[in-house]
Subunit: 345 residues, 2 copies
């Protein structure tokens, strides 16, 4: 339905050469991560489809990867799936998606069923099953890679492609502190892999380093969903009406917090600044558009796929080949200087 | 992380007997569709997990289904995947998800690769490949079922589980006309399967039957996304400033239209009523919450899975067993009587 987009147009849009686009599509691990992100953004935006890939698939020169995740209804995962599927296809691989619905028994059953048989390799995003147990499965000959795991619970025996969660939290803290906020509340998400504590730790440590008293930082724990953030923000704002800013460890909760603020008669950003983490599509689609810290989703997907395929095909790469770019602050309309808040308060 | 929920609690929540819950989980096609929907809503809401299913999977008494779709980043599909995955699991089947990224070559390659080999049956939601071509693949021995196809392009040779799209459009028209709206614009979505014309036809025919002049109904065509709806609504409202209501053939576009109205200084619903179709989760999560027509997503997923498995296992069922419930109007906060609009205008 869309007109055919050419590689040259992608290059022009991303302000790189056609050779770079081609490189990004074939060997993303050899290109600077920021460039991978820019080119992949252009690929998505223009709807570019490399024909060679479709041909390779049609000719059967393909193998299969599986991507296992806990909860496809969290909108981050479909966005990730789209990137991973495109990355797999660029390598001539299929990607099958397995949703385990936060259930470790289902996750184990999927692994039994697919790892090494239906799929040559499995990228495991969900953490229902422990890293040690996964390492045991890998030791029996299956190619597994962890992805987006949050910190301590990974295993030395398994590679893990993930983002610097603490740094992401730290960027959010810098932003709010820089806007003059001192009375800040936090919403800590309970994700599929447990509490998003690393993100909160990065946030709190940076506030403390800036001389802000974090001993009594008001915080509420909730599911990492719009509804979870809504309820937690209402509770927090009722108990601490003088807060001028809220940090949420996840965009969905931040979007719920904006709605909670509106329902409490507080205007975002004039009466309350709200910042999230991840930069899912909804973050820019919402009104007010959400200030957030962007995870390098396209790079992580490309790298996890490249790493898994390198392992399947017995290739060794330097550690640097799988280096994930740092998260970046994205300022939109949900944060403003605390001064304005104080004046109104 | 969540406390264990029992079947009895699900039954209480759905106001049915435990036997009915059990029936819905095992043989949804034998239960009234409205009851299936109610029970499945309770299952999801409470996070209930039937243990037997996990055990069946772990014991390897399982086979594999595939669900092929065009665009996992449209939030309807993850919601559908979640229901279909749960339905497959209740039958002791795995569900693998294949995202074809709106590319017919990829769709064909997936079918070559999985139909009849990796997966015992494939539920095809995307329409990149023609029904006739799919019928040809089925004729060579693969079990295929179409799902959510929009009308005319299905094939007699293949079963299709879908919703009455024209009726959905008709309900939206009844609602707006009943609120006194006469100057109504329409946003027609270009989905993965082409224009959502049946929905618009149901809408326009019902307006005409209520004596509303639809000859010059202002309409704009756009991609079925928030951004698409936003741009199309801005154009439509600029060209037809006296419109009091907008109908969108898809919730995403309706959400974009609400934002466009806000950016044009028009309040929804006081200055403009907006109604969508589908009832994705975002419809109730947005502010103002979106009035829409709900598709029976859980029923469609259950029925498509049950039908496909019946065919795989060579069972015949009466036609009625696969009857999909009608869509239903869900009134929220984005529609209001036209009278108020007129007073303000």
């Amino acid at each position: 339905m869309l007109p055919m987009v050419t590689l040259a147009e992608v290059a022009r849009h991303a302000q790189v050469t056609a050779a770079t686009v081609s490189n990004v599509l074939r060997n993303p691990q050899k290109v600077r991560p920021a460039t991978v992100d820019r080119v992949m953004a252009a690929v998505r935006e223009l709807g570019y489809r490399p024909n060679l890939t479709a041909r390779a698939l049609a000719e059967g020169r393909t193998s299969t990867l599986a991507l296992m995740l806990s909860n496809i209804s969290n909108p981050f995962y479909p966005e990730f799936v789209l990137e991973a599927e495109a990355a797999a296809r660029r390598h001539g691989y299929f990607l099958l998606v397995c949703n385990t619905d936060d259930n470790p028994s289902i996750a184990r059953a999927y692994l039994d069923r697919i790892a090494g048989t239906l799929a040559a390799g499995v990228i495991v995003m969900n953490t229902d099953v422990s890293a040690d147990e996964l390492a045991g499965i890998a030791a029996r000959g299956s190619t597994l890679a962890l992805c987006m795991w949050e910190g301590a619970r990974t295993s030395r025996a398994l590679p893990c492609v993930t983002v610097d969660y603490a740094h992401a939290g730290s960027l959010a803290a810098e932003h709010l502190a820089g806007l003059g906020h001192r009375r800040i509340g936090a919403l800590l998400g309970e994700g599929s892999g447990g509490p998003q504590s690393l993100r909160l730790k990065g946030f709190v440590d940076t506030l403390a380093a800036r001389g802000i008293d974090t001993e009594a930082l008001p915080a509420a724990s909730c599911r990492d969903s719009i509804e979870g953030g809504y309820e937690a923000a209402r509770t927090l704002l009722a108990a601490h009406p003088r807060l001028t800013a809220l940090f949420a460890t996840n965009d969905l909760m931040a979007l719920g917090a904006i709605q909670a603020a509106a329902d409490c008669g507080r205007h975002v950003p004039h009466d309350l600044s709200v910042i999230g983490l991840t930069n899912i599509h909804l973050a820019h689609q919402f009104r007010p558009a959400l200030t957030t810290v962007s995870f390098p989703t396209a790079s992580i997907a490309s790298i996890a796929v490249a790493l898994t395929i390198d392992r399947i095909e017995g290739r060794k790469a330097k550690r640097d080949a799988y280096k994930v770019p740092l998260p970046e602050l994205v300022i939109r309309d949900s944060t403003a200087p605390a001064v304005r808040t104080a004046r109104r308060g």
